[in-house]
Amino acid sequence: MSLHVDVRFAPRDLDVTLDVATGEVVAVLGPNGAGKSTLLALLAGLLRPTSGQVVLDGTVLAAGPGTFLPPHRRGVGLLAQDALLFPHLDVVGNVAFGPRSAGASRAQARSRALDVLAEVGMAAFADRRPRQLSGGQAQRVAIARALAADPRLLLLDEPLAALDVGAAPEVRQVLRRVLGRGDRSAVLVTHEPLDALALADRAVVVEGGRVVEDGPVQQVLTAPRSRFAAQLAGLDLLPGTFTADGLRTPDGGLVTGLAGDGEGNGERVPGRPGVAVFSPSAVAVHVTDPGGSPRNSWVATVVDVSPRGEVVRVRARLDRLPGNDVLADVTVAAAAELDLAPGVTVHLAVKATAVRLHPTAGPPSDGERVPVR
């Protein structure tokens, strides 16, 4: 095990447990203000945890408020959204800063810097000043600078978010190469599913300062257990409690569906929390009550209607499950025929065969804590 994190940080109500294996890249996903950057600051040593501990390769980086290794003694590299290249040093001077700080001679540090610059394809820019670089070039130099210090753990805080559309792929490519070698653990904070898929082995979803989901990136994005992951994946998600027949939502309604991939019905223990996940394309929208089984159907109020290519995406707020919005994709013709507009009351229904029921841990409410694995 490379990194073991079990920390609480009271000022931001953060309480996170996380393990990262050697060479593993973990993506931390979550809405704004969920505590992702706070988590990185705790790992980098820029914040002191209220309690709990951070252990990296057997070295205790922080334990409670008492034991605290300052950032410069942690061997934890940080790559931020902005490259933050030191403006008064040239490119090679920036990259050589880490080796120089570790005690390397001027010549050693320079040769190490040039090697790493070559790795990220920036060797030709060694003598440039940071302000002469484009955003993508600057971020590649920042990557080289972080790598040159030879960190045991690399923290990446939305490293592609500040780049323009043209520069992001080239930097993503470089990150993919340096992270893909499998010799360095990394924690990648992002809100971009594409980055998580391209760069990470595992994804962790943080909501309200808690880890609510943890699994392979692919699984988190296709079979989400948390509201945020469902939003990322573009799927609908309703929380509830398992019964013998399916999932009981807080309004007393029943959702029936299939077990999640690789899960037998045995895991659906009555009384345990779970989520129902379905695709917006599986949701049927009616203006009048279609009658029939009350299962898998809800009365809702349309809050937004937006065209998305071939279909129209309807966002509707469930009248009896406030706080739960369901997305439904209908054809353009149907949307016109139903005269869908914000404020209209609709009846939503979804076939049981289109619903996946996943067990979760913790209470079936917002900000639920679901260490799934």
Binding site: H72, G77, L84, F86, P87, H88, F97, A149
Partner: protein, 267 residues
């Protein structure tokens, strides 16, 4: 308001009447300069500013102002660092204390120093015991000048530190740099322009110091009589010399302003 080179005002419209008090204010600065120029005996200028007493005052002024600027940097840089980065409780109180010499009448500052470090002052007897006499020495001039000019350096540098933020410093620390190395290699170079303009302002303030110097250090030729004191002394006995030396101080002030503005434009 953005003023084009041609003088045209663009952006949000400014009521025209604002220009009148603004112009009056400007005249308040410009007319006295003309007043000095009108009194300078141009034919006598060089002999006047190179007389023994003038040269002594000029040399003393440059020496003491330089010494107090060095002191300001040595004391002010750590003070600004503590204010901007220290995370110490009571920063607001500290900042108010630093501001005090800026708003205090210099004469009062001089009296305060005299009552503290003077022979019969608070610490005077103790200092006398170890053989240190501060009052009415060149050292007193330097202390008085430092007293009044330190806030300029601290505030200027603190502003630069707050503007620069601590993100570069955080990155440097994660790259393995100890706090001392971060300070010398990252923080100081990043705020160098603010440090330079702060030092220049402090130097200018020290050069022009009058009230605190007169009360705390007195006016002994070659020992404590700096250029402003010399000008004041000459104003009745030799107005021509006073005017010539005044012009000299104006020239120094203009050079300082240009130097500071030049740095600002670099930023």
């Amino acid at each position: 308001m953005t003023v084009r080179r041609g003088g045209a005002v663009e952006g949000s419209a400014l009521p025209r009447w604002v220009l009148v008090p603004a112009a009056v204010g400007l005249l308040l600065f410009v007319l006295p300069l003309l007043g000095i120029l009108s009194r300078v005996p141009w034919t006598q200028f060089v002999p006047l500013v190179t007389s023994d007493s003038s040269l002594a005052a000029l040399e003393l002024s440059l020496r003491t102002a330089t010494a107090s600027t060095v002191l300001c940097v040595l004391l002010g840089v750590p003070m600004a660092l503590v204010l901007a980065r220290g995370n110490v409780p009571g920063t607001r109180v500290l900042r108010s204390i630093v501001l005090l010499p800026l708003v205090l009448p210099p004469v009062v500052g001089g009296m305060a120093l005299l009552w503290t470090l003077g022979r019969s002052g608070l610490l005077g007897p103790a200092l006398s015991l170890v053989g240190i006499q501060v009052g009415f020495t060149t050292a007193a001039v330097v202390i008085a000048q430092t007293f009044v000019s330190l806030p300029f350096l601290v505030l200027s540098l603190e502003g630069a530190l707050l503007t620069a933020g601590d993100r570069y410093e955080s990155v440097a620390a994660t790259l393995g740099a100890r706090p001392g190395r971060v300070l010398v290699r990252i923080t100081v170079p990043l705020v160098a322009p603010g440090l330079v303009s702060g030092a220049v302002l402090a130097f200018a303030r020290a050069l022009g110091e009058f009230g605190a110097t007169l009360t705390f250090a007195g006016s002994l030729q070659g020992v404590t009589r700096t250029l402003p004191l010399e000008v004041y002394l000459l104003r009745e006995t030799d107005p021509d010399a006073a005017a010539a030396l005044s012009l000299l101080l104006v020239v120094v002030a203009v050079v300082v302003v240009v130097a500071v503005r030049g740095r600002r434009n670099v930023l």
